[in-house]
């Protein structure tokens, strides 16, 4: 188990490093830099090339790429993600400030996704009506396909502008969370529903389900007590993807609903080519993924006792095969 953990931690570090490096290269491959983006608008003006050069040198943007990369990586290892070019604030505190607001809508969205997605899958698997089942199974692709900003605007139109139930703007109060969370939950509910419905139908076709039925268990008992327990495990494997969906979805949702948070921070930082902030967010996102996936791996034995009984040796071989 110890070796397994060490291996996972090593992988995590590798993922973080790769995310940092790839994002650095992508950001620096773009034409121009933060100075150009900021002064670009003033292109037809009296700012002298000397003044621009002085500003670039002040921010270290004139140094060779390798040096910039190594200095920033070194600082990042010490927990210093640099400062925003835009407003001079430390990237770590910008992320810390944005996190609670994003967590609020992402957390609510996760709850909604599990309830709605899970409910839909159970209903589709449990119903005797084949047509209803087929209809329900056709909903998830739709949920993934509709663009978030469009859904967000529709919800605003109906439940904020037409019927003044929820506020259209801002972060204040519980009611401000509802519409953004629903918008954000749409694609993730669909993902859960699709995956769970598939593994439920697989589980229901397993011999143990037949055995249970033969023993006289009711339809719902077979579904909820036997099939669901086994079908939940595969659904859990996509937790990392769901987290990714929630984080990237927040870019659009927070913009449409005029909320603060990591999504808005990402949107503004990218458009200003505020590289330090963008990289900080990439690192943060990668870190969340790594942690979620590690957590899921550690949760398996708790949910399925059979995993606990397997020896560490087998675990490691299984590892090696992937």
């Amino acid at each position: 188990m110890g070796g397994y953990l060490a291996r996972r931690l090593g992988q995590a570090v590798l993922v973080l490093w790769a995310a940092y490096t790839v994002s650095f290269l992508v950001l620096y491959a773009l034409p121009g830099d933060a100075v150009d983006t900021r002064l670009g608008a003033d292109s037809g003006s009296d700012i002298t090339p000397e003044q621009i050069a002085a500003l670039k040198s002040d921010y270290g943007l004139d140094r060779p790429l390798v040096i910039q990369y190594l200095t920033q990586l070194g600082r990042a290892l010490g927990g210093d993600l640099g400062r925003s070019f835009d407003n001079g604030r430390p990237v770590t505190s910008l992320i810390a400030e944005g996190l609670p607001a994003t967590l609020a809508i992402a957390g609510a969205a996760l709850v909604i996704s599990v309830l709605a997605g899970g409910g839909l899958a159970l209903l589709a698997a449990g119903t005797r009506h084949r047509r209803l089942s087929r209809f329900l199974l056709n909903l998830p692709p739709l949920g993934v396909a509709v663009p978030g900003f469009w859904v967000g605007l529709l919800l605003l139109q109906q439940f904020s502008f037409r019927l003044p139930i929820f506020p259209a703007l801002g972060n204040e109060g519980l009611r401000s969370i509802v519409l953004p969370a629903i918008t954000l939950a749409l694609p993730t509910s669909a993902m859960i529903a699709q995956l769970l419905a598939k593994s439920l139908s697989q589980s229901l076709a397993e011999p143990y389900a037949d055995t249970a039925r033969a023993k006289g268990a009711s339809r719902s008992r077979v579904l909820l007590r036997h099939a669901l327990r086994n079908a939940t495990l595969p659904a859990l494997t996509v937790a990392g993807l769901l987290t990714g969906q929630l984080l990237s979805g927040s870019v659009v949702v927070e913009t449409v609903f005029s909320r603060t948070g990591l999504g808005r921070l990402t949107a503004t930082a990218v458009s200003a080519q505020d590289t330090a902030v963008v990289q900080g967010l990439v690192i943060f996102g990668a870190l969340v993924f790594v942690l979620v996936n590690l957590l899921v791996d550690l949760l398996y034995p708790v949910l399925d006792r059979r995993i606990l009984r397997t020896t560490p040796r087998i675990l490691i071989t299984a590892e090696g095969r992937t």
């Binding site: 992988q11 700012i47 500003l55 407003n87 703007l169 990237s248 909320r259 948070g261 996936n293 992937t322």
Partner: protein, 573 residues
């Protein structure tokens, strides 16, 4: 079981890359969603300067605030104002995010002078009098006595000197301010309230520039804060009618009325304390959400009304505050160093092939004016060039024929085997740009000119301009002073268009060599005539700024630069 064991790990590796792709995809969506939204089509975040002329104002704010404000304004209340962009920086001399930043900072900072929106004249504000030398190299100011910063310290000549010196040291960090101080040598303090600003070269537009927020005096305590740390606005102190309560990034800026304020400029009805107790600027990126929030009463004023939303708001009885933007009009500018558009005949042919009225009617609406010169009609120094502008495709064809451009089988002309193909660049800072250009593309095709449209980000555009890759560039630049022509077209500034024209340069540099408005205007008239005659720029339409207001909001006005003026006259009820 193998399935469940392996899946998470694939998830983990995919996820590392996943976030990037995912967020980039999210971003693409977002940008697509917001592309048509940035109604602050101002490419220029360049702040210094403002201007106007009586004609436009009459056409402008008259349409605006509902009913004449005859009754005494109601005191008190909170005005909630939705803007599209986070201000980024509340430091008056730094760039921030453009117009939306200036809407906020205007409330916090006063300027040495005011540019009267009704006349375009520069009138006293914090400076009760001012005088330029004949060579436009030195400017004497006398401050109004009794003005204090919101930290209680008095405004003195030393405060102004310290502010200007600070900008000069900050250099390009103070992007909006430093351009107005080009050639700055020093500010000489000649008394408690008198000082002289000196330049090594003529700075004819300086007086007008002092009316901008970028050169607003700040208190000594502000200057003690390192320049990079002033963006939050905390401790950044001006003499304005409002003070900062708090600023939450990407969410809101809350301002409180400053009691005891009594030094507003003479163009305001109320030169004293604001009627409102509080102003809340909400950051609402989506233009549809701003409009919906106004209609549902969640905010009282919105900025950046999209052109397509204007008539809807008007029909439902909301107030509109409308004012055309002064400065460089939207149009096509040729990069003269490119082989094809280097030819005068081709440029003139383009000019006569574009039907500006048709473009305005198709891509925009009656709130936007058809351009009559390279300068918008409410820019001081504007000279009407309509006589030289005409839509005449036959003339275009004749010009091209004479220049040796022969139509091919597909209708596109060619000369010596080179097709008449022009790469035309624009950025989507203003929603209707694409529609406008697609129409222009069609119109030019009708006379045998093949236009390829290009769009990208600001740095992409700049990189392309520097390489000399584009034949034509579409854009505008808002500024309430004719000097915008010098910074855009003269060979002494950035010179992106490589125009090498001694007469034009002489006029553009001439207008900056004197502070006498009559002389400046004469130079500017010459420059505008040359620009249109030689078709360096093909003017198409003006930009208009539109604010939407709730029915019970009064006294919200746009300044000479068509940006929000101070809200001292604003009231609710």
């Amino acid at each position: 079981m193998k399935f469940t064991r392996t899946a998470p790990r694939t998830g983990a590796t995919a996820s590392g890359r996943g976030i990037l792709t995912a967020s980039l995809a999210g971003l693409a969506l977002l940008l697509a969603a917001c592309g048509s939204d940035s109604s602050n089509a101002d490419t220029s975040t360049k702040a210094p300067t403002q201007g106007t002329d009586p004609v436009s104002l009459a056409a402008g704010s008259a349409t605006g605030t509902p009913t004449a404000d005859t009754a005494a304004p109601v005191a008190g209340g909170t005005l909630t104002f939705a803007v599209a962009n986070d201000p980024i920086s509340l430091n008056p001399s730094s760039t921030g995010s453009g117009n939306d930043t200036l809407y906020v900072t205007r409330q916090l900072f006063d300027s040495l002078t005011e540019q009267d929106p009704a006349t375009g004249d520069v009138i006293p504000w914090l400076a009760k009098s001012f005088k330029a030398s004949d060579d436009a190299k030195s400017f004497e100011f006398t401050l109004r006595p009794g003005v204090t910063f919101s930290d209680g310290t008095p405004l003195t000549a030393a405060s102004v000197k310290a502010t200007f010196d600070d900008i000069n040291t900050a250099g390009a960090k103070a992007a909006s301010a430093i351009v107005a101080l080009a050639g700055y040598t020093e500010t000489e303090v000649t008394g408690d309230l008198t000082f002289t600003v000196k330049f090594s070269e003529p700075n004819g537009s300086f007086l007008q520039a002092t009316s901008a927020i970028a050169l607003a005096p700040v208190a000594a305590s502000t200057l003690a804060i390192p320049y990079d740390d002033r963006a939050s606005g905390v401790g950044v102190v001006g003499t304005g009618p409002f003070t900062l309560d708090h600023y939450t990034k990407n969410n809101e800026v809350v301002l409180k009325k400053r009691t005891g304020y009594n030094w507003g400029p003479a163009d305001r009805t109320n030169t004293g304390e604001a009627h409102l107790d509080q102003v809340v600027f909400k950051i609402v990126p989506e233009s549809g959400v701003r409009t919906g929030s106004l209609e549902s009463g969640q905010v009282q004023v919105i900025g950046g009304v999209a052109p397509q939303d204007i008539s809807g708001l008007k029909d439902s009885g909301f107030g509109l505050v409308v004012r055309p933007n002064p400065g460089l009009t939207f149009g096509l500018t040729a990069n003269v160093s490119r082989p094809i558009v280097g030819d005068l005949a081709v440029r003139q042919a383009i000019a006569h092939a574009v039907n500006a009225t048709d473009v305005r009617d198709t891509a925009l609406n009656e709130y936007f004016k058809v351009a009559t010169s390279s300068l918008a009609a409410n820019t001081p120094g504007w000279a009407d060039q309509s006589a030289l502008i005409s839509f005449d495709p036959e003339k275009s064809k004749a010009l091209l024929d004479a220049a040796g451009w022969v139509p091919g089988p597909d209708g596109i002309r060619a000369k010596d085997g080179v097709p008449l193909h022009l790469l035309t660049a624009y950025i989507s800072n203003f929603g209707p740009n694409q529609t406008a250009l697609e129409l222009v593309q069609q119109e030019l095709k009708d006379v045998g000119i093949d236009v390829e449209l290009w769009t990208g980000t600001v740095p992409d555009l700049l990189a392309g301009q520097q390489e000399g890759k584009f034949d034509l560039i579409w854009g505008n630049s808002s500024r309430a002073d004719g000097d915008v022509l010098r910074t855009t077209f003269s060979s002494v500034a950035s010179n992106y268009y490589k125009i090498d024209d001694k007469e034009l340069d002489a006029a553009l540099i001439g207008q900056q060599s004197t502070a006498d408005p009559a002389k400046r205007n004469a130079f500017l008239a010459t420059a505008q005539k040359i620009l249109v005659e030689k078709a360096y720029q093909v003017p198409v339409h003006e930009l208009t700024t539109v604010l939407g207001t709730a029915k019970n909001v009064h006294g919200v006005v746009l300044g000479a630069d068509s940006r929000l003026s101070q809200l001292t006259d604003a009231s609710i009820g």
